[in-house]
Amino acid sequence: MSILQSYKKGVKAGVPIGLGYLSVSFSFGIMAVSMGLHVWQAILISMTTLTSAGQLSGIGTMMIPGQYASMLVSQLTINVRYSFMSISLSQKADDALRGVWRWLLGFFITDEIFAVASTEKSVSRSYFLGLAAMPYVGWTLGTTLGALLGNVLPESLTGALCIAIYAMFVAIVVPPAKEDRRLLAVVGTAIAASLAFYYLPYLNRVSSGLSVSICAVAAAALGAWLFPRKEEDDG
């Protein structure tokens, strides 16, 4: 496949992510401005950080003066999952995607970009850059629109848009999980653990970013121990 072809293939695969991000970052834009940030600040945060949970938690921290250490700790716990994704993706990167390219393209590793890239056997620079294009545009544009006209839209519409990101997660997990009982067991374990962290006393004091990391690492480790995968399983 030529460079242009694989770039185009990536852009095409990124369109649904971009649409999903448009709606999710729209709600981020609304929240940022309602918390007291300027429109340009909301946009700058989205353009430099490119993450949902981390930004949401981050703008909450920003409202309190001098909480730089707390900001660092919460960002690291919420985002530690990206390290696992980066390691996983590094295994699929082709020979040309290395050195400075990894430092450049690493910026764009989000849950959804990673999940879509993972479905490829091998990931090239042009494919990954194409894949990141629409999500980046969608994330920036959605934040801008939300920050500018969030208060104009009725609440029923903004509420409906907020489900988009989760629907996208469902669409990524369900198709492989229905084909593979081992994966289904891992998914079930992660959900059960997450419910426990949300509803049970004491456990529900753990911050949501950290609890997601704990649940995911525990479920995946249990899966890797009970249901190890052979090379040919992973495509």
């Binding site: 940030l37 409202m63 390290s83 290395r98 849950d111 509420g159 989760y166 994966l183 891992v186 998914v187």
Partner: protein, 105 residues
């Protein structure tokens, strides 16, 4: 908040988010042979997305009921289709219509 503390906060937030992504990506050059680690890395993204969705998604919309129905619709559609866009749009529409119906009752 003055501009100086905004940019300091931004630096901490954007900088830590970038480094936690880029450092492992840039430094892992070898293929991992260990079966446990390979299996772990295969399972981790699905485990992360599942834990992020349940139960947080239930509280993302105006009511738990509309969110649950919207999520149910997303699961049903993703059994039949692999299109992320179709699944996302279906879920949004379902939530919107459910909330319209609920406001009438």
């Amino acid at each position: 908040m003055d501009n100086r503390s905004f940019f300091l906060y931004l630096l901490v937030m954007a900088g830590s988010t970038y480094l936690i992504r880029a450092i492992p990506f840039a430094l892992m050059r070898k293929k991992i042979k260990n079966t446990f680690i390979r299996s772990f890395l295969y399972y981790i993204p699905y485990a992360v997305l599942s834990a992020m969705t349940f139960p947080s998604a239930l509280y993302a919309t105006g009511s738990v009921i509309s969110a649950a129905i919207g999520l149910g619709a997303a699961i049903l559609v993703s059994f039949k289709s692999k299109s992320l866009t179709l699944v996302a749009i279906t879920a949004c529409l379902t939530v919107f219509l459910t909330e319209c119906v609920m406001s009438l009752i």
